[in-house]
Amino acid sequence: MPIPPSFFPAPNSRECQDRRRFKTGAVGGLTIALIGNPNAGKTTLFNVLTGLRAKTSNFPGTTVEHRQSHFSTGRHRALLIDLPGLYSLDAVTPEEKVARDALKGCVEGIPEPDCIVVVVDATNLERNLFLVGQILELKRPVIVALNMMDSVQREGIRIDLPMLEEQLGCPVIPVSAKAEVGMDELVGCMDRMLSEPRVPAVSSSLMACGACEGCQYAARYNWAEQVVDRCGTRVKQARGRTTEAIDHILTHPVVGVVAFLMVMLLTFVLIFWIAQYPMGWIDLIFAHSGALIRRVVPPGLFQSLLVDGILGGVGGMLVFLPQICILFFVLSLLEDTGYLARAAFVMDRLMHRVGLPGKAFVPLLSAHACAVPAILATRVIEDRRDRLATIMIAPLMSCSARVPVYAMVIALLVPRNPLKAAGLFAAAYVIGISVGLLMALVFKKTLLKGETKPLVIELPSYRMPSLRSAWIMTLDRALVFLSKAGTVILVISVVLWAMATFPRMERGDLSGADHAHLDGLRMEASRLRVEASGMEVAGRALEAEVARREADAVDGDAAVFMQRRSLEFSWAGRMGRLIEPVMRPLGFDWKISIGIVSSFAAREVIVSTLSVLYGVGDGGGESKDSLYDALRTSTWEDGSPVFTWPASLSLLVFYILAMQCLPTLVVTLRETGAWRWPLIQFGYMSLLAYIAAWITYRVAMLVAANGGIPI
């Protein structure tokens, strides 16, 4: 019978005839591709089979990721590839297109698979069989892994496996990825398939799909329906009752949003509370390393590069790793349970108001830990414009690096008042989110004009998540983060260090007054030491010790003073002084300006920069032991305090909105593929920060002048 034209796949899933088929792998090895619907448990299965050996990489020329691993089936070694989930080979999104191309061997670097394993959700057989049907028609060796058999057993669904095998014409292996059951049988089947490849015996009813007029989808679904009818019991109505009951609450337009906000709050409380332990350990490790290097490497430029530049910079980033890891872990669990789909569902309507899809909320959520993984997470957003808008506003979400800065400034604003401090913290987060959403609206109305794609999302049944899978995904993501952001941060740290060190200041560069000050300190130290020896001789050992300690403190003051002057002398210092006139209207003096310049590439640097600049420890008569005291008492030339509450507030607002993170810009460049976007990101955020800080300062000064709120 002549094959009717409608038998051939729809136009946008054309055969890649014009491109070479990549028949053999780089090392002539075998390739097994894992494919299936999203939510069918494909990734869990992959993780169970390969454990930690898997490596994440991009499909060449795209931002689509996939995971692959070398894998032994017994008699053969093969490359097992986890392809992105898709519902049909008629691909729409870039992920789906690449998955389809990879299956057909049209992707460079990924050979045509020697065996395709289709992961099917046994509780959703009819829908999953649609894809299976399309894959069977590819005439490649296929194995169907019937996943979620544990749910099938629990719900009392009966599936006639031999009949299913007969209907599909290929081996069907029942498995449960979560319970790790059936793995050996699956691997054994892969092994046999690689030894003796068998092309599926496509049944006549599948072939006849093409004969139906009208939508070929309809024909294929009819075939799927037939197969399911012959092979199993109908799904009982009772199934999904629990899911439906929970959803009744969680998808309610009001209660659902509240529930989601609470989940979000809980997640962040968890993150900040648990993360403080590993963060403390990391701090300790770096402090010890620094001490070790100081002992081993002679003092000088090299030692400074190692300790201040590399260790300081990299340590500053690594300290956020625990928070990022916990966030990934929690999100992975939530996704596995199926909850994230509900969250996208309830948030969609609200996010639509600012022109964003519901799926944008996970990246925006993650951005509160760090914008780098958040921007990578925007890949789930299908529409390019929606994705760009999300990437543009992600850095406005208050990330972990801002926390030390907020802490510093808020301590100045409301000292010793934890309630008000918490309130200000919350306000900072809210400002970031609100401005972000506002900017999304602006972007969608101007640069990224276009209707947001309507929401179409599958709500899978709730299920217990796989801890092991979440753990593996977290480690994987952490490694990706370290490699992507880590290299950038290493480079930045060295550059920043160079800017803050060079040009080196010699004693001759000091002003007369500074010379005098330093000499004075030196004489004071000597005097104290002489006193100490005198007391020692006179047998007043305790007082001698005290005097010696004081001498050490004065030496320390001198060192800090030199450090401060060196910083002012350096490129960073000169830039700070240069931009000071621009920063004055915001209430910032030149020291804060240097801080802002130095934190251009990494926000939290301002805290350590200010510590140096304000000579924490430097002090003439009084000793200021903490940065807080130093800041609080610092003054302009005329003696008026710098950190008045308007100035502090203005600084807070500046840091909420400013783009001060080079890794974020780099990731934006990578993900969007155009310089335009990171430049726009930097430009609009800087402008926003400046204007907002200026307005804050002016308004606050007015209020203060009229005797208004000292918070």
Binding site: S88, N124, E126, R127, A218, R234, T251, P460
Partner: protein
């Protein structure tokens, strides 16, 4: 479709030929998809999820977005898009179990 075993044969009436959007189904009512008035790429996505001519769809929760049941799984669809999914009432429901 298995014919119902009730005593009355449902009369072919105007009712079964009336077309309306899936939004207008009563909660838990089952309809049969007749048309999709959506741009090709979106229609493609709906079809690959099971919303294509002849398939049954059950409205689980009205609102914005709505929840429907198709091919045994539940989908969330924004109301704006749902309005473009045309259905006709399903006059034939297996006893006790809705075939969606």
């Amino acid at each position: 479709m298995i014919a119902s075993s009730s005593q009355f044969e449902p009369e072919p009436s105007e009712e079964s030929h009336r077309e309306f959007s899936v939004m207008e189904l009563a909660p838990m009512q089952v309809g049969i998809v007749t048309d999709l008035f959506a741009p090709d790429d979106i229609a493609g996505r709906l079809k690959s999820l099971g919303l294509c001519s002849g398939r049954r769809v059950q409205l689980v929760k009205a609102g914005d977005p709505i929840i429907v049941r198709v091919l045994g799984s539940r989908l969330g669809i924004s109301a704006r898009l749902a309005r473009s999914i045309q259905v006709r009432p399903d006059t034939c429901v297996e006893e006790g179990v809705a075939r969606t």
